[in-house]
């Protein structure tokens, strides 16, 4: 009996420490993502708007991409796991080209070591064709950063964050393709 009281009071303590929130109502897609290691927002999460430039200097902003499913990927040229997952990003891009889906691979210049030129050269040298964004103001890496890279976000066509993944991933796996196909309107 004592044990039960102890356990119950411990649980009560933990609950008291946590803000009263509803458990996330996971959609079937989110369930799939959750099972493969993605983090799922506790509450419905509006993706905060951001903007940056593409390699040619054109402005890209999230609010102009409404209606598209977005895979936001934070990376750097100096990060081996980021470099390792890039071929799979390219494959995913090729497979879903033409649909309402876009990759936004965000590079953040931190001069003098990581520069805009370095990012551009890296992409060109490797022949990647998926959209790459430069986060000159570091606002995206600040807001969407998890403290480490690679970190990737899946944002649905309504501009809501569905899931976040920290670490390298095989993006053109059958599972991921299935997930994106389900999401693309």
């Amino acid at each position: 009996m004592k044990k039960i009281i102890l356990i119950l009071s411990l649980i009560a303590l933990v609950l008291a420490l946590l803000p009263a929130q509803d458990a996330p109502k996971m959609s079937p897609v989110q369930e799939k993502l959750w099972k493969s290691g993605f983090g799922i927002p506790q509450n419905a999460m509006e993706a905060p708007d951001f903007s940056g430039t593409d390699l040619e200097g054109n402005i890209i902003s999230l609010k102009n991409l409404k209606g598209k499913v977005i895979l936001l990927n934070l990376w750097a040229t100096w990060c081996p796991p980021c470099r390792a997952e890039m071929p799979s990003l390219e494959n995913l891009h090729q497979k879903l080209k033409g649909s309402n889906f876009t990759i936004l691979a965000v590079g953040t210049p931190t001069p003098p070591r990581e520069t805009r030129d370095k990012i551009i050269n890296f992409i060109k040298e490797n022949g990647y064709t998926f959209p790459v964004m430069i986060d000159e103001s570091q606002a995206i890496s600040y807001q969407y950063g998890s403290g480490s890279i690679p970190t990737s976000w899946i944002i649905n066509a309504e501009g809501k964050v569905l899931a976040r993944f920290v670490g390298g991933m095989d993006w053109d796996s059958d599972l991921m393709l299935e997930v994106f196909k389900e999401l693309i309107p």
Partner: protein, 580 residues
């Protein structure tokens, strides 16, 4: 039950992940400096150890894993020696404690002693799950025990010593000017003869002569100090921020430089008679000889003493006195040395035409000084005023030449004094029309030139504060090197631009190139004595925050965090698989 357990697990994970990740990613840095074994006197070796936490590794990279000196002017690093790492997926990885070594030399071009060296250690680690953390760096200070550096002499006193040394050298060089050297030899000979070769009285005589020199220079210093104080009382600014002061200094030095080319002769009327009258025997005579040596040498020494005086106007009384003492000691040194070893008279350089060449070379040195001063003037007054000032200088040259013609011995002109009066009147008239000391408050830099910045104005500041806007204030000046570093590295960069935009901060710039009284008042209000001053007024209306003089993005970010408008989407908002 599912609900509770999920919460419990997520809470547990967040708690654990924050403690695990953040406590473990800390890399410990230690370093030491030693003398390299086999090599030349100036070679040292720097060793820095990186203690990488368990579960993490560092990949070899020149860009993200390195050591360097913060003061890379003084310490020149050869190349960093990396140990052999463990090859994995084509990358060279390091685990545990990694030692980076580099040989370096201490540049001898830089004076002043060093007791410690600041070393920057940079790393960027990844964990075994394929997650990489952002590059980091730490600055550590390592004690230096290097023979040959001056013990206990910090930077500023060393600079002061250097300055005093040059003042002393200047005084010494005055002795070889054409109107000093012949007189010096003569006086020295007289002293030896008068004292009937009695060593003791020669010594006393020469010391008295030296003190005469010193006293006259101290009188000059005193005059400067008194003028400086009265000047300040009536509101004259003897500072380099005051264009009138700079222009006067330029004119005086320019006139002196002309005199060194014999365009005219500086001649104090009646001085020769007075000097002759004082040329008495005895110790008092020696003392006055010292005083008059300075006065008699005026035609050659005035250009230099005058320049020194001019510069002295902007300094503190203590500095004026010490530097003039140094000049005096230099000036009196040969005579005192002769007093100690009378035989030295024979080794004095023989007067001759070479002295004129020397004098003229010195004249060019003064023209160089004029240029140097002009370079600071160009930011203070408008281009038009600068051009007018150049016309004025040309007229000044003409007036000096005219005065030289009229006052020449044997000239048909009635009197040298009259010529001097005419010269002064002409100078006065031309300066009235041509000297425009009105400060170009905006400098050459229009506020519009600095994109995204507006000119500092207390009223607008107050208005912005009322509207609940954050304001960043930058007080700087053209002549402030730290300001330029900060502008080039942080404030005026593209990243700096976005930094302020992202946080919706109004930027205001106050230019202190010319001593603007309004900005002066505000600098004092911020409790500072000079520029740069960086003050940040948060949007919430709370009091201002002062930032350090030397800025970096890290400092800016620390002092000015991103406002809640751009809230970070951190781990606490997510439900994360505990296994992940």
């Amino acid at each position: 039950m599912k609900k509770t357990s999920l919460f419990f697990l997520s809470f547990l994970f967040i708690f654990l992940s924050t403690t695990v990740i953040y406590s473990q990613e800390k890399v410990k840095i230690t370093g030491k400096i030693s003398k390299t074994e086999q090599s030349a006197e100036n070679n040292y070796s720097l060793t820095v150890n990186f203690e990488i936490p368990e579960g993490f590794h560092q990949t070899r990279s020149d860009d993200f894993f390195f050591i360097s000196f913060v003061d890379n002017e003084r310490f020149k690093i050869d190349k960093i020696v990396y140990p052999e790492g463990i090859l994995k997926d084509g990358l060279e990885n390091y685990y545990g404690t990694v030692e980076l070594k580099a040989d370096f030399i201490i540049s001898k071009n830089i004076t002043g002693s060093v007791k410690t060296a600041k070393i920057k250690a940079a790393w960027q680690i990844c964990n075994e799950d394929g997650v990489c953390f952002f590059p980091e760096e730490e600055i550590i200070e390592i004690p230096l025990e290097i023979p040959g550096t001056l013990p206990g002499s910090g930077g500023t006193p060393w600079i002061l010593l250097q300055f005093l040394f040059f003042a002393f050298l200047g005084g010494l060089l005055l002795n070889v000017m054409p109107c000093v050297l012949p007189v010096l030899s003569m006086r020295a000979l007289n002293l030896v003869r008068q004292s009937q070769n009695d060593r003791k009285s020669i010594l006393i005589g020469s010391l008295l002569y030296g003190s005469g020199v010193l006293v006259s220079l101290l009188i000059l210093a005193l005059i400067v100090i008194i003028l400086q104080m009265t000047g300040q009382l009536v509101g004259w600014g003897f500072q380099f921020q005051n264009p009138l002061f700079v222009m006067s200094l330029i004119t005086i030095i320019f006139i002196f430089a002309l005199s060194l080319f014999d365009v005219f002769l500086i001649n104090v009327p009646g001085m020769n008679k007075m000097a002759a009258a004082s040329n008495k025997k005895g110790w008092l005579g020696s003392f006055f000889n010292g005083i008059f040596a300075v006065l008699l040498a005026t035609p050659c020494t005035a250009p230099f003493l005058g320049t020194a005086l001019g510069f002295a106007f902007s300094q503190t009384p203590l500095f004026i006195i010490t530097s003039f003492t140094a000049i005096g000691l230099g000036f009196a040194l040969p005579f005192i040395l002769i007093g100690i070893w009378p035989k030295l008279i024979q080794s004095l350089p023989k007067p001759g035409p070479w002295m004129d060449t020397f004098k003229e070379i010195m004249g060019f040195l003064l023209f160089g000084t004029v240029l140097y001063l002009f370079s600071s003037l160009q930011y203070q007054i408008s281009l038009n005023s600068q051009f007018k000032f150049l016309i004025f200088l040309t007229l000044t040259a003409f007036i000096a030449w005219l005065y030289g013609k009229l006052s020449k011995p044997g000239s048909k002109f009635p009197s040298a004094i009259l010529a001097l009066i005419i010269a002064f009147i002409l100078l006065g008239v031309s300066s009235y029309f041509l000297i425009d000391g009105k400060q170009n408050i905006q400098g050459t830099e229009e506020p519009g030139l600095r994109k995204g910045w507006e000119e500092f104005n207390p009223d607008s500041l107050e208005q912005y504060r009322k509207e609940g806007k954050a304001v960043f204030i930058d007080f700087g000046a053209k002549w402030c090197s730290v300001c330029k570093i900060n502008e080039g590295r942080v404030l005026l960069t593209e990243r700096g631009n976005s930094f302020f935009k992202e946080r919706s901060i109004i930027r205001m710039k106050g230019d202190y190139t010319n001593k603007d009284p309004l900005i002066d008042k505000w600098i004092k209000k911020f409790g500072k004595a000079g520029v740069p001053v960086y003050a940040y007024y948060p949007a919430d209306g709370s009091n201002y925050i002062l930032l350090p003089e030397l800025l970096s993005f890290r400092i800016l970010e620390d002092y000015i965090p991103v406002q809640n408008a751009n809230k970070k989407l951190d781990d606490s908002l997510f439900l994360i698989q505990p296994s992940k």
